[in-house]
Amino acid sequence: METVEVRTSPHVHGAPSVATIMRNVVYALLPICIFATYQFGLSAVALIIVTTLACIFTESFFNRISGTSDSLGDFSAVITGVLLALTLPPGFPLWMAAVAGFIAIALGKKLFGGLGFNVFNPALVGRAFVQAAFPVAITTWTPSLTAARFTEFIPSTLTFPFAVPAAVDQWNAQVAVDAFSGATPLALSKFENIPTDTFLLLFGTTAGSAGETSALLILLCGLYLIFRNMLDWRIPAAVLLGAFLTEEAFHLFDSARFPDPWFMLFSGGLMLGAMFMASDMVGSPVTPVGVWIFGLLIGFLTIIIRLFGGLNEGIMYAILLGNAASPLIDAATQPRVYGVTEAKIFGKKVD
C-alpha cells in the first residue's frame, strides 16, 4: 500500500530521456572515433581522450564550485569532448586540445548555466577559441594511413605546453605514401583548384580533421540516431540542402571557378557539422518552421564562407552564427495556435 504513487497525469512517458539520447549520441560517435584511430593512429586516440577528459573535469569542477548537482550523468560533456576532438587536426598538440576542452565547457556551456541554457554549441566554442589562439596549429594537416601510425605519435602531438609545435612538413614528406601536399580537399580546391574524387571523400582516405574525413560513415552514424528517434532529421537535411542549393547556383553560374555541389557536400566538416553539431537541440530553434530556416541558413553560410571567406572551411562559423540567430528565428516562427487565425510574429499579432 505504501508504494502506490499518487501523481497527476500523464502516467506514461513516450520519449527517450535526455540521458538516453545523449548516451546514444556517444554510441553513434564511436564508429567515427574508431575510423579516426584507424586513419591517424595513436595521435587521434590521444586527442579524443584528452579533449573528453578535459571536458569531464571542467564540467565536474564547475559543478563543484557552483554547488550544483552532478551533471555528468547526462553525457553531454562527453559528447562535447568527443565532438571537439573530431573537429581538430589529428596532429593537434594535446595541451592545446585540453585548453579547447576547458573553454568549450567553461565558456561555451557552464557560464550560461549548463545544459539547456548554452546559446552556442560548446564544442564549437572551444574550437573557435583555439582557431583564434593557435591559427597555425589548427591548420596543420598530416597524411592519413601512415605506416607507423600505431607505434608513434605525429611529432606535433606531444608539444610541450607553450612551446612552438614541431614543424611537420618534413615528417609529412617522409611518411606520406604518395606525394602528400599536406592540404585538405577543400584547401586544394580553393587555393589550387585541384578537385578531389567524391569516392575518396565518401570513404575518407583524405587529409582533414580527425573525424570529418569519411562523409559516408558520418551519414550512417547519423542515420542510426534518426532511426532511433534521437536526432531531428530535418536539421541535417536542411543544412545539406542549403549548402547544395547555394553551391549549385554558383556552379551553374561559373563551373570553372566553383566546384561541383556534391564535392562541397562531402568535403570538409559539413557532414559532421550538419549531423552532430547543427542538430544540437539546445542551440537550434524549437519551432517546426524554425528548424528548416536554421538549417538552410547554416548551409548557405557555410558555402559563402568557403567560397569567399579567408578560410577554406566555414561550417564552424556558420553553425555558431546559426546558434546566435536561433532565438530570433524562434520569435519569428511561433506556431499559429489552433483556432486562432492570426499568428504572432516577434510577439505581435499579425493577420
Binding site: 504513487e5 497525469s9 500523464p10 506514461v12 512517458h13 513516450g14 530521456s17 524549437v286 495556435v337 483556432g339
Partner: protein
C-alpha cells in the same frame, strides 16, 4: 489515407488485453456509494433519508441547478447513510450510501418512453432526470449539451468512438456489442437536433467495431450515418481534434464547437440514451475496462455506478502480486488523463471509463533535466501551443504571462509531458497555472 488531426502522439496501446473480451455483468455486492457530484456542475440534492428503502432505478437525488443531473439507486436496498464520502477526485463530497437488499432479484421493469411525442424541452428534461452525462470521462450533463439554443444550429452530429486513451476498450465493446443501441440513440438525437450530417468517428484499431456499425448503418439508410475510420493517434478523441479530422475545420479559440454547428457526443452516451428511452432504465450502470499489467484477469465489466473499486478488482482476480504494493499506480481513466488513486475505497462514478493497475514497467520513474529546447512538445501539441515556453514561464511563476502564450487554449491532453525527454512536468504545471489564474481573477 486515414483521416486525422495535426500533431499528437502515439502511446503504446495495450488494448489487446481486453479488446476482444465481451462485456460481463458484474454481480451485485453489499455496499454502494453514490457521490452527488459525479458530473460537471452544481451538486445534486438528496431525496432520501437514512433507513429508507429504495428500488433499483429509483430517483434518489434531484438536480441542484440547471447544470446538474438526477441520481438513481443502482440496486434495491436500504439507504444506510447520507454523508460525506471520498470521491475519486480526491475530495470528500456528500454521498448516498446504500446497502443492497440481499433477497431482491434486482430486476428492472421495462418502461419504454414514447420519445417521438416529446418536445425538445421535454426531451432535455428526460435526459436530466435520467441522470445522463457524457460517459467519455468528462461527465458533462447531456441535457445541457443537447440543448441547442435558438440562435445556434447543430449542423454536424459527430459520434465519438475514438477511445484514444491506451488500455481502455469500454467504448470499443459498446460499439461491437450494442450497435443497435448506438443507431437508436443516433435516431433519437437526429429527431431532436435535425443535423445535416451524422458521423461516427472510430480509430482504425477497432476494425470489428467499424464493420459491425457499418452493417448496422446499412440497415438504416434513412439515418445516413457515415462511419469514418481515423488514424490511431492520441488525442484523437478530443472534441476539437475529432472535428478537425473529420471536417478539416478548426474550432475558433474561445468558442465552443456548437458555435460552429458541431456537436460531438461519446458513443457510450448515445447508447445509454437509447437504452433509457427504450427501456426506461436511467444511468445506473456503465461499461468499465479493468486492465493494467498488475491485474490478474483484465476485463470489460458492466458495473453499477457506486460499486467500490475494491470489488471491481476482486472480480478481475485481484492484483497479480499478492500485496498491491507492487502496483506503481492505480488509475481511474486512461494513463494520459486519468486520476491516480490513493485508496481502493472509492466508488466507480459515471465518468469512470477504466480502472487501471499499472506496474513499475509502465510508469517508470524519471529523472528531470533542464529543458534542452528539443521542440518535441511543439510537435506533439495538437493545439499548436509552445509548451516549451509555457513551461519556462510556469517555472518562474509567471502565470499571468502564460495567458498571452494561449494557456487557456490548452486542453490538458498531456501530450507535451508524454514526449518531454527532460521529464519536465509541463501539463501538470499548466494545470497549476490555470488554477492560480482563476483564483487571482476571483480575488
Amino acid at each position: 489515407m486515414l483521416l486525422t488531426f495535426t500533431n499528437g502522439v502515439h502511446p503504446q496501446e495495450f488494448k489487446s488485453w481486453t479488446n476482444n473480451s465481451p462485456v460481463e455483468r458484474l454481480p451485485f455486492f453489499a455496499d454502494y456509494v453514490i457521490p452527488l457530484s459525479q458530473h460537471i456542475g452544481a451538486p445534486s440534492k438528496s431525496l432520501v433519508r437514512k433507513g429508507q428503502y429504495v428500488a433499483r432505478g429509483e430517483k434518489i437525488a434531484e438536480p441542484g441547478a440547471y447544470v446538474s443531473v438526477a441520481y438513481h439507486s443502482p440496486v434495491d436496498g436500504v439507504v444506510s447513510a447520507v454523508e460525506l464520502a471520498e470521491h475519486p477526485g480526491g475530495k470528500m463530497v456528500p454521498s448516498i450510501k446504500i446497502k443492497a437488499d440481499p433477497f431482491s432479484s434486482q430486476r428492472l421493469e421495462k418502461k419504454p418512453i414514447d420519445w417521438k411525442s416529446l418536445t425538445k424541452k421535454e426531451f432535455a428534461d428526460h435526459l436530466q432526470n435520467s441522470g445522463m452525462v457524457g460517459l467519455g470521462g468528462a461527465a458533462f450533463p447531456s441535457h445541457v449539451k443537447f440543448a441547442v439554443p435558438d440562435d445556434k444550429k447543430c449542423d454536424y452530429l459527430i459520434i465519438n468512438g475514438c477511445e484514444c486513451e491506451p488500455f481502455l476498450t469500454a467504448d470499443h465493446r459498446v460499439m461491437a456489442e450494442y450497435p443497435l443501441e448506438v443507431m437508436r440513440g443516433i435516431e433519437m438525437l437526429q429527431y431532436f437536433l435535425t443535423p445535416k450530417k451524422t458521423f461516427i468517428g472510430i480509430e482504425a484499431n477497432k476494425k470489428d467495431a467499424i464493420n459491425i456499425l457499418q452493417l448496422e448503418a446499412n440497415k438504416h439508410p434513412e439515418l445516413a450515418v457515415e462511419i469514418v475510420s481515423l488514424e490511431v493517434k492520441y488525442p484523437q478523441g478530443a472534441e476539437k481534434m475529432l472535428i478537425s479530422a473529420i471536417l478539416t475545420n478548426e474550432v475558433p479559440s474561445g468558442t465552443i464547437p456548437l458555435d460552429g454547428g458541431y456537436l460531438v457526443s461519446n458513443v457510450g452516451t448515445v447508447a445509454a440514451i437509447a437504452e433509457y428511452f427504450d427501456s426506461g432504465k436511467p444511468l445506473i450502470e456503465r461499461v468499465v475496462t479493468v486492465s493494467g499489467s498488475n491485474i490478474k484477469r483484465p476485463a470489460n465489466l458492466l458495473v453499477p455506478i457506486g460499486t467500490s473499486m475494491q470489488e471491481l478488482l476482486n472480480a478481475c482476480g485481484g492484483f497479480k502480486s499478492s500485496d498491491f504494493g507492487d502496483s506503481a499506480r492505480i488509475l481511474l481513466g486512461g494513463p494520459m488523463m486519468g486520476m491516480a488513486q490513493k485508496s481502493l475505497d472509492v466508488p466507480v462514478v459515471k465518468g469512470t471509463s477504466g480502472v487501471l493497475a499499472l506496474g513499475v514497467l509502465e510508469v517508470p520513474g524519471r529523472n528531470t533535466f533542464q529543458c534542452i529546447r528539443c521542440g518535441r512538445c511543439l510537435e506533439a501539441c495538437p493545439m499548436f501551443l509552445n509548451p516549451s515556453t509555457l513551461g519556462l514561464l510556469a517555472k518562474k511563476g509567471l502565470y499571468e504571462e502564460m495567458l498571452e502564450e494561449n494557456l487557456m487554449d490548452c486542453m490538458e491532453c498531456a501530450s507535451c509531458s508524454y514526449v518531454c525527454p527532460s521529464g519536465i512536468p509541463l501539463v501538470q504545471s499548466f494545470r497549476v497555472a490555470k488554477a492560480v489564474n482563476r483564483e487571482r481573477k476571483v480575488a
